[in-house]
């Protein structure tokens, strides 16, 4: 059975309608999938290949994927927000369905039969199940794929999918396991120079003095110092020499108007004293709360680093009037647009190509490193330039996830259930992507830096930034968010996996446990009693069953278990997590279970891998991570390496069980960020259960544990 003809077209197919932008048949037996989605470690290229294999009915082994190339692939904006399968996958499905329909029409006309008599088996076209001698490749000359998508191709019904929904091995993993060149860091171009940048400490800082002789002495080898305005780079043929000079150079450059954040600014309460831009979203404030009990609790989280395992890297070559940039950023088209604003090159004279970097969990230093390379390449026409940030540089200059304060204020009905919910949020922005170029670090040091973009956060239509998941999914008659956007913070902030969802879900789910305790109810039973959405109910019930949740488990014993639940962005995947842990002087995770409803899942093992990763990373955030400031440190940060910004280690990771439910629904629900908020909340609730007291500020460090226990 076929699904109905799809109009209107999926948005990304509407904006990239030419079919040859999605699929190519480059040689007999070969298919190339072209996608604007880029590999960030999440396995999206494998999923896109699976989609094309199924809709075209060709073996997965015939498919190669080309991604994120302004010269070849569709413009799908940024690969972010767990959108790739939900929005990009549907576009790929429809594009393939349209392409398949064009081939069927051509074959039908050659065979003098009705297209409905035809089917495809691994690229070969069959008529009533019998070979016709025709296949995709024998018809490529006759089928024009430069035409626009119409939506006339019927996508397969979910029940007919065979590759979609079956776990597939990651296409990119063998090269990584065998140590082949797999990353942008491994590119070596003829005549290439290595480069390190001496970073301007902040917007508006200018060079006071630069001791070039001292930098050269520190290099202990030949280097060239490239200057353009307040942009300084050290380049040379030997990477060791350039790295050495780059490490020494910051202490040989003095800056005017340098600002360095102070330790007091790193803690969340500082946010409450800042000027804000305020909005109220949702239902009007309750006219008369009289007679209803009020419950209030305030939570916070510090600044977080992406802390990708490798520092950012970018390459660029300006030759014969054309600029080519290699980058591991999340959006090659937006980066090209931004570079066109800051460099004397038009977008049409520029190619930006994605090459895989180390794990990317949001807007890290990748765009900036690419811009650095491009700026230097424009100064050195004909010379390929490779910039690789230093480890300390990555920690100090990558955009951080904003510190947040979340205050919940709920009115309770006679049964102790929330009847009115206010989520009041203080946060810097979660969105300072390159956009118009005004957020590219290197650009700020140029002679004519682009203007500072006006303060803004991610619109709610895109899931919100600080407000993401600020509305509980539970059946609460009235709710609202009060959003205090803090336009001016001491360090640059932008998107990190989940954005505001993690602090918001942590706050909501912590309050749910508090309210359940007040009502004398078990946390799972209490949640179910205010959950109307059947998929939410099924997800919570599933994880409780997986964890063998006992309603009467005794608390305050040092051993605890807790639950957390959310539907990411209230529109992507549903995820519920149970954490079991022990607390003595510190918190030791014992076991984690996760149930997730992600709707139609393309690659179940890939989705589970992502959910596991989200769980471990969130556990690391909650237990360990906070970017600390120090006005005496080089760039004002006390967190500048893995010793000063520790993350979860192998011996600290517990056994994790993840199960997917409802995977044959027609609609995929983005999964990459779904488990993070519920994990953070479940850890908080488990600690509370173990200790009989609640720590409301993340990270849940040993110092905070001790302080809380002393106060109790």
């Amino acid at each position: 059975m076929n699904a109905p003809v799809n109009t209107p077209l999926p948005p990304f197919l509407e904006s990239n309608p030419r079919l040859d932008r999605w699929i190519a048949f480059p040689a007999p037996g070969r298919v190339t999938v072209l996608t604007g989605r880029v590999e960030l470690g999440q396995g999206v290229l494998t999923a896109m290949a699976q989609i094309a294999a199924d809709e075209l009915d060709v073996a997965l082994s015939r498919i190669a994927v080309r991604s994120g190339d302004t010269a070849a692939t569709p413009n799908e904006g940024y690969t972010s927000g767990s959108h790739s399968i939900q929005a990009g996958g549907i576009a790929m499905r429809q594009a393939c369905a349209d392409i398949r329909a064009l081939f069927m029409a051509q074959a039908a006309s050659r065979l003098g039969c009705d297209a409905s008599a035809l089917s495809v088996h691994d690229g070969a076209i069959l008529r009533d199940g019998a070979a016709t001698g025709l296949d995709y490749w024998s018809l490529t000359d006759a089928v024009d794929l430069t035409v626009k998508a119409t939506g006339a191709g019927r996508r397969k019904a979910v029940a007919d999918y065979t590759t979609i929904g079956a776990s597939s091995a990651r296409l990119d993993l063998p090269a990584k396991v065998f140590g082949e060149p797999a990353f942008i860091h491994d590119i070596r171009l003829d005549g290439m120079v290595h480069a390190r940048v001496v970073r301007q400490p902040n917007r508006g800082a200018s060079i006071a003095t630069i001791d070039e002789a001292a930098i050269r002495r520190a290099a202990k080898g030949p280097v060239e110092i490239v200057r353009h305005g307040n942009f300084i780079a050290i380049i040379g043929g030997d990477e060791t020499t350039v790295e050495r000079a780059g490490g020494a150079a910051p202490s040989h450059v003095q800056w005017n108007d340098a600002e360095r954040p102070a330790a007091a600014q790193q803690e969340a309460p500082w946010l409450l004293q800042r000027p804000t831009i305020d909005r109220v979203l949702g239902d009007p404030a309750p006219a008369d709360p009289q007679g209803r009990e009020r419950f209030e609790m305030t939570f916070s989280r510090g600044y977080l680093a992406h802390a990708s395992i490798s520092p950012s890297c970018g390459l660029a070559l300006f030759k014969d009037g054309h600029l080519t940039v290699w980058t591991h950023c999340q959006g090659v088209y937006p980066l090209r647009a931004a570079l066109a604003k800051i460099l004397p090159v038009k977008a049409e004279d520029m190619t930006v190509v994605h090459v895989q970097g180390a794990g990317c969990y949001g807007h890290n230093g990748a765009d900036d490193a690419a811009a650095d390379a491009a700026i230097i390449a424009m100064q050195k026409p004909g010379v390929p330039v490779r910039v690789r940030w230093r480890r300390e540089e990555e920690f100090m200059f990558e955009p951080k996830s904003a510190s947040m304060v979340v205050k919940v204020s709920a009115l309770l009905d006679a049964d102790g259930k929330p009847s009115d919910w206010t989520q009041e949020i203080w946060s810097a922005t979660h969105m300072q992507r390159p956009g118009g170029g005004g957020n590219l670090l290197g650009a700020l040091a140029l002679p004519h830096p682009p203007p500072e973009p006006p303060p803004a956060d991610v619109p709610e239509a895109n899931g919100g930034g600080a407000t993401r998941n600020g509305v509980p999914l539970y059946a609460i008659p009235a709710s609202r968010m009060i959003h205090h956007l803090i336009p001016d913070t001491p360090i640059r902030t932008s998107s990190l996996r989940g954005l505001g969802a993690v602090p918001n879900v942590f706050a909501i789910e912590s309050c749910l446990d508090e309210l359940a305790a007040r009502a004398g109810q078990d946390p799972v039973a209490y949640r179910l009693s205010i959950t109307a959405d059947p998929r939410a109910r099924a997800t919570i019930e599933k994880v409780a069953a997986m964890a063998n949740w006992q309603a009467d488990a005794e608390g305050g014993t040092g051993h605890g278990r807790g639950i957390g639940f959310a539907r990411y962005k209230n529109r992507a995947a549903y995820s519920a997590v149970v954490v079991e842990l022990d607390v003595d002087e510190e918190i030791r995770l014992a076991r984690i279970w996760c149930a997730t409803d992600a709707g139609l899942v393309i690659n179940p093992d890939g989705a589970i891998n992502q959910l596991e990763g989200g769980i471990v990373q969130a556990a690391s955030w909650v237990l360990k991570e906070q970017v600390r400031f120090d006005s005496d440190a080089a760039a004002g940060l006390a967190s500048f390496d893995w010793d000063t910004y520790p993350v979860l280690k192998f011996s600290e990771v517990p056994e994790i069980d993840v199960e997917l439910i409802n995977t044959r629904d027609d609609v995929p629900l983005g999964v990459g960020e779904a488990s993070s908020g519920p994990t953070a909340a479940a850890i908080g609730n488990a600690v509370s259960h173990a200790l009989g007291l609640r720590i409301r500020d993340m990270p849940l460090t040993r110092e905070r544990l001790m302080a809380a226990m002393l106060q109790a």
């Binding site: 140590g179 490798s310 990763g613 893995w642």
Partner: protein, 161 residues
């Protein structure tokens, strides 16, 4: 001051002339010998992306001067196996899909190799302890631990694959 340094990489003799006394083994592997499998992560001997075996012992080589390995046997991830003849560890990592971005895997495979060389039957705790010098930021830990356990079982002949 520049002198030639001779040592073995994955069984092959190599002779290099580093630009300085400080040139680390990692830069020589990547930039002189074209062996990209050993990755740069920090340059501070903290993250383990650059783990190699030196005379069989796992060592971070991002800050280890190349002269210090003169006359020694260096094994990198490329020396473990390849697609045609994978090492049991590499096969187990593929079987368990133990990777997300995969950047940390070269160093982790080397640390795991060193562990299994000295302890063919490690517990889960032994494996975790042996990998604590390697950072994985994507959160693939559970799969990696499972893969090393599986490879150990294969190498002991307890399971075929």
């Amino acid at each position: 001051m520049t002198t030639t340094v001779e040592f073995h990489v994955n069984g092959q003799p190599v002779s290099v002339a580093p630009a300085s006394d400080e040139t680390p083994l990692l830069d020589v592997l990547r930039n002189e010998l074209g062996l990209m499998g050993t990755r740069f992560g920090c340059g501070l001997e903290q993250c383990g992306c650059c783990m190699v075996l030196i005379d069989g012992a796992p060592e971070k080589c991002c800050a280890k001067p190349v002269w210090s390995v003169a006359g020694k046997q260096v094994t990198t991830v490329e020396g473990l196996g390849n697609a045609a003849a994978p090492h049991p560890l590499q096969q187990a990592f593929l079987d368990e899909q133990a990777g997300q971005c995969g950047y940390c895997l070269s160093g982790i495979l080397i640390s795991a190799k060193a562990l299994l060389d000295s302890n063919p039957a490690p517990t889960r705790q032994d494996i975790a302890a042996a990998l604590d010098g390697n950072i994985c930021r994507c959160g693939t830990h559970v799969r990696i631990l499972r893969a090393v356990e599986k490879a150990a079982a294969v190498m002991r002949g307890e399971v075929s694959r």
